[in-house]
């Protein structure tokens, strides 16, 4: 099976936010929930760089390790998903996640949290693939249709890559060799416990 990963080429990301609205569009993500976002460092200064961020679908995902109700599971493609029917909205995963991926709708008073939501790698949830119930809880399931996540597919400069880790790593390596620079696959050591050697 493939080992699905995300890779953001920060030398190409221009913070156009296509990934963010593509995600909203594909899954009808409600206002206030951001499965993906673009983070910019050194904003407005030389060295400004942007990186598109979402759940990285980590190896031995820390969110799963801390979940008190064990709602997380990893698919055969190594995509980290969770079961909203089990989730109790405790927020532990948010503290454990190195990428700030988990999102919670605010329900009721005193900041009461609803069930966690995050990037599904466009792979839906535990229900039957591409069923209406799956769509309502998790959004669409492109993986089941043989498609990749829409955020990466629509990236304006093809900075954000999604797909099998080996393949996207080789695309990135080729790119870096051709152009002569590359600041590396950001987040890979944290998420996948490996560096991308060029």
């Amino acid at each position: 099976m493939a080992r699905m990963k995300f890779l953001c080429d920060s030398d190409r990301c221009i913070e156009c936010n296509a990934c963010v609205t593509a995600c909203k569009n594909e899954h009808e993500v409600p206002w206030g929930i951001n499965r993906r976002r673009v983070v910019t460092i050194n904003d407005g200064k030389p060295g400004e760089r942007s990186i598109s961020m979402a759940c990285m679908h980590c190896t031995d995902a820390p969110c799963a390790a801390v979940c008190p109700v064990s709602c997380f599971y990893t698919t055969a493609d190594a995509i980290v998903l969770h079961d909203k029917d089990l989730c109790i909205g405790c927020g532990y995963c948010f503290y454990a996640c190195p990428f700030g991926a988990p999102q919670y709708p605010r329900v009721g008073n005193f900041g009461g949290r609803g069930k966690m939501d995050k990037c599904t790698y466009c792979a839906g949830g535990p229900q039957q693939d591409n069923s209406p119930v799956e769509y309502i809880q998790y959004g669409s399931n492109r993986i089941a249709e043989g498609k990749l996540p829409l955020c990466a597919e629509m990236c304006s400069t093809k900075a954000l890559l999604a797909g099998d880790g080996e393949i996207i790593a080789s695309i990135y390596r080729e790119r870096v060799q051709q152009r002569g620079y590359g600041s590396g696959a950001w987040g890979w050591r944290t998420a996948y416990r490996e560096e991308l050697a060029v």
């Binding site: 221009i14 609205t21 593509a22 976002r37 910019t40 407005g44 605010r106 629509m154 093809k158």
Partner: protein, 976 residues
């Protein structure tokens, strides 16, 4: 702090009161819609549509039934001019999903934030749902018939009393080509030249300046061709935000060729973040910077002498002006160090091919036309025009601003840049099958028929000033040179907040007797003024809900197919214009050759009529059938050359048949990917510089010397082709009998004067090409444009300048008149010195990636609105510290005219230099601190509102096009 561009923080729960259903609260969209169906407040209007309609339009979004078939429909993104293909998935009449359009050679599946969110435009809860009318300050729903009856009656009444020129027809760069053409035609049949659109405020100066240099005012190459460049300068543009998908091609050039990517801009933009070299200049000093580069180029002999000798007129006069711009003087005026400029000049001149990319930083200036001419001269001096990887890559702003410009939504010309003289009118009378005398009878006079109309930057001046029959001695020069001032305004697809001097435009709005806004959204026009009556809103569908072609910035035409039926009660432009002209009494004549089917206008038939008339720019070969074939076979074009692959149905064609696509569709000209490219045969898309300015000046030839396009039988310069020229060359008898008969019929005794651009048979063009010649001649480009106010571009300080010490040496133009109105220059600049004391910060404006234009449409899109919730001003940390301004705090930004001020959030950043502030121009709905949300028709207010930067922008117009000055004015900033 919710200004996302600063810290990337997640925006949430800010807009609870404005957007209750969707903000926080844990309710998803469908939950929200379910509740709304039970009588919730947010979508009250939907209830009136009946359950079936509501389901088909707004409610059932995104739920794809995988058991049922899905239709894929291709259309073109309605935002910027890159021309990204949008692939829509439609099921049961509902647009349920967007898929990447991998096959498009332009966007290759990708989008920016706006393109990836366009589906929402066609589900938008905040669209205008039915026609509305303002009655004693209250919005009332009315029917289409009532709206059109009342509007047309009022128009005819105004016409009766004050003449046809008292109505201003404002069109749109978001029109399809067919709608733009119809709208221009409508103004001609109505009898006025006061018909304009957004090109006036984005690239009118480019069109004027570039056309006056080498023939056509359009991007010479293409986005894709930038992949061939070895040096790119982006000057006065921020494509990373304004044209994100273009960066795919720019970065490919940078990466694959290891090209130099130089960004010259007062702001360290998102584009600059990816540059190999960034040059910061003082706003408004583009010409000194270009001349400063040329100083080094001439000094070191880096210019392309062969190119200049063969293909450029007047470079010697440029040298004289350039000699004044020594590195020291350039640094004194622009702030750019000589060493850096020398390095940039050397790269541009010697590491070729080089391209110069520009946008509104160059054009929206009091010296806009002169700026782009200086840019063009730099390209000419270094021989960087007419070949792969070179050229003036002018990125236009809107989806179809190139097309709408080509189709004459402009106060100075009929479709195809024919101008307004009698020959032009007679040409179009022939195409339209009406008598010239009939068209003449529609105008106030022959003089008014041939006089440029009122530009959209000044419509409110033309409303507030009296006409010739209304003025008194006390008015002096402050009058409009037409019988009456403007009394009525028709606005189709144009925001109200993108033009400078809003406090004055509000007064203009209040004085109009009739205001009609025809748009998918009510726009700021609906709420910004104190109007209480005589205002109508007509819901027009987006281009996704209709058929039609659009012309991308690179001159490629793309056919968009209707994705879904117009939602709510909206209608498309064609049908609304048809219904309106029926009531105005000239539909029979105007739609004589345009087909209607089941009462609906057929877009293809409009394009066919355009094909029959637009010889001058080669919009004649792009038949609907050919365009549809290209959309069907998008995957068969090369990414870099845009050429159709051998053995495919589109072999040899360039993608989208970029104009000029000469002759009739039947002769299958491939279009012209790169203009003025002498390396190719003209039948293969090659060409020469256009012989547009005569053949000789002061005894010196204006025709090319020793340069011709490949395969030309005339191996030297030649003038444009007429019947007389054909006869002299002995080529007249190459015309077919049918072609000769057409010429005889239309020109009779004057047949010798029939030209390539007015010959309706296309015979002259065909014969010229058979002999390898460009129909428009083979001339030199002009470095000196003797018909413009500054034949050689010279530096002129901005009208409101922070450097009053430079005004004496570099003054703006004296006060003058233009476009029927006074045009003030030095008298306003004289106030600068005083203004600079109280308003010490340069204010400039520009785009954000999430929004577009006036922003009403994009600020109504919840996926985009969430990303940018606050209007802001960028201020340098030093200026902020001196004023006690805190990042994220509220400030008042005040301007030197009209005691204007806006309340916005401060974004403290080094992106702007000390003494410079930046504001985006997409916001509206607040005015000088007042929230005007309640004045929108209920349910149509955009999610995000904010102050408009143009509340504080000031006077200042380019002398050639009346382009507004939005890039350099003055302001003061204080904590609020």
């Amino acid at each position: 702090m919710l200004i996302k561009r600063n810290d990337g923080q997640v925006a949430r729960q800010r807009l609870a009161s404005a957007y209750q259903g969707l903000s926080g609260g844990g309710m998803d969209r469908r939950g929200f819609l379910r509740q709304a169906g039970l009588g919730g407040a947010g979508l009250a209007a939907l209830g009136t549509l009946g359950a079936g309609r509501a389901r088909a339009s707004g409610a059932a979004t995104g739920v794809l039934d995988h058991a049922k078939p899905v239709t894929r429909v291709k259309n073109i993104c309605t935002h910027c001019s890159v021309g990204c293909t949008v692939t829509a998935e439609v099921q049961n009449g509902v647009w349920v999903g967007q898929e990447p359009a991998w096959e498009s050679p332009i966007n290759r599946g990708t989008h920016c934030a706006k393109g990836a969110a366009v589906r929402e435009l066609v589900h938008g809860d905040r669209r205008l749902k039915y026609p509305m009318k303002l009655v004693a300050g209250e919005w009332r729903r009315i029917g289409w018939d009532q709206a059109l009856d009342e509007i047309s009656a009022k128009l005819l009444q105004v016409r009766e009393r004050a003449g046809p020129d008292s109505v201003f027809w404002l069109g749109s760069a978001k029109f399809t080509n067919e709608a733009a053409y119809l709208y221009r035609k409508l103004a001609a049949f109505w009898g006025t030249n006061s018909v304009d659109h957004q090109a006036r405020i984005c690239h009118s100066t480019t069109v004027a300046g570039v056309a006056n240099t080498w023939g056509y005012g359009a991007q010479t190459n293409s986005y894709n061709d930038i992949r061939n460049a070895r040096t790119m300068i982006i000057m006065g543009g921020n494509p990373a935000e304004a044209h994100p998908v273009s960066l795919q091609h720019v970065l490919a050039g940078k990466e694959i060729n290891r090209a130099n990517l130089i960004v010259i801009d007062p702001r360290f933009t998102r584009t600059a973040a990816h540059a190999t070299e960034y040059v910061r200049l003082r706003p408004g000093t583009d010409i000194p910077l270009i001349w400063g580069m040329l100083w080094h180029i001439f000094q070191n002999g880096w210019e392309d002498r062969d190119f200049i000798r063969q293909r450029v007129y007047g470079m010697e006069e440029i040298r004289k002006e350039v000699a004044r711009w020594t590195p020291d003087e350039v640094q004194r005026v622009t702030g750019v160090p000589g060493e850096q400029l020398k390095r940039v000049a050397q790269m541009f001149a010697t590491q070729k091919p080089s391209t110069l990319i520009w946008c509104m930083g160059a054009t929206q200036k009091t010296v806009g036309t002169a700026n782009v001419r200086a840019y063009s001269v730099l390209l000419l001096a270094t021989g960087n025009v007419g070949a792969n990887g070179t050229g003036a890559n002018i990125f236009r702003g809107h989806t179809n601003v190139q097309g709408a410009t080509d189709l004459g939504l402009d106060v100075t010309t009929l479709p195809g840049y024919y101008g307004l003289d009698e020959n032009a009118w007679r040409h179009w009378a022939r195409v339209w099958g009406v008598e010239y005398e009939y068209l003449l009878s529609r105008f106030g006079s022959k003089a008014l028929m041939e006089m440029p109309g009122i530009p959209t930057t000044r419509w409110f001046d033309a409303t507030l000033m009296p006409g010739e029959r209304e003025k008194t001695a006390a008015d002096g020069e402050a009058y409009v040179a037409q019988p009456h001032s403007l009394k009525a305004m028709m606005v189709f697809g144009h925001g109200g907040n993108t033009v400078t001097r809003i406090p004055e435009s509000i007064k203009g709005l209040e004085k109009l007797e009739l205001l009609v806004v025809a748009d998918p959204h009510p726009t700021t026009f609906s709420q910004v003024s104190g109007r209480r009556d005589g205002t109508y809103l007509l819901p027009i569908c987006t281009s996704f809900e209709m058929d039609g072609s659009r012309t991308a910035s690179n001159r490629s035409l793309q056919w968009g197919a209707k994705i879904v039926e117009p939602i709510f009660e909206s209608r498309n432009d064609y049908d609304v214009l048809h219904a309106l002209t029926r009531r105005l009494g000239f539909a029979d004549r105007m739609f004589r050759d345009i087909e209607t089917r089941d009462g609906k206008v057929v877009a293809e038939s409009i394009l066919r009529e355009m094909n029959r008339g637009l010889w001058s720019i080669g919009y004649t070969g792009q038949s609907p059938e050919r365009l549809k074939l290209h959309m069907e076979h998008q995957d068969k074009f090369d990414l870099v050359t845009l050429r159709g692959r051998e053995g495919t149905p589109v072999a040899h064609d360039y993608y989208g048949l970029p104009w000029p696509c000469w002759g009739t569709p039947e002769i299958r000209h491939p279009g012209s990917h790169i203009l003025y490219n002498t390396n190719l045969h003209v039948k293969d898309g090659g060409g020469t510089f256009r012989a547009r300015f005569g053949v000789e000046r002061n005894g010196e030839t204006l025709l090319a010397e020793g340069s011709w396009s490949k395969g030309s039988e005339i191996e030297d310069g030649y003038p444009e082709f007429t019947v007389a020229v054909l006869k002299r060359l002995g080529w007249f008898d190459d015309l077919t009998g049918a072609e000769k008969a057409s010429l005889e019929r239309h020109f009779g005794a004057n047949i010798d004067r029939a030209a390539w651009s007015t010959d309706l048979s296309g015979g002259i063009i065909r014969v010229a090409m058979e002999h390898g010649c460009s129909p428009f001649g083979n001339a030199k480009a002009r470095a000196v444009a003797w018909n413009l106010p500054d034949p050689v571009p010279v530096h002129r300080e901005p009208i409101y300048t922070v450097r009053p010490d430079l005004v004496a040496q570099y003054p703006t133009l004296p006060d003058r008149r233009g476009f029927r109105m006074p045009h003030l220059g030095q008298s306003v600049q004289a106030r600068s010195a005083a203004a600079a004391r109280d308003f010490p910060i340069v204010l400039t404006s520009g785009r954000l990636v999430e929004y577009e234009g006036g922003g009403e449409e994009t600020r109504s899109n919840k996926w985009l609105a969430e990303l940018q919730q606050d209007m802001f001003v960028e201020i340098n940390p030093a200026d902020a510290a001196a004023r006690g301004v805190r990042d994220g705090g509220w400030v008042w930004v005040s301007g030197p005219e009209n005691a204007s001020r806006v309340r916005v959030k401060a974004l403290v950043t080094e992106r702007v230099a000390r003494g410079v502030a930046f504001m985006p121009f997409h916001f509206g709905g607040f005015f000088q601190g007042e929230d005007r949300r309640k004045f929108y028709p209920p349910g149509t207010d955009p999610i995000v509102l904010g102050e408009s930067v143009n509340t504080v922008t000031t006077y200042g117009y380019d002398p050639v096009t009346f382009m507004q000055e939005t890039k350099v004015t003055l302001c003061q900033i204080r904590s609020a």
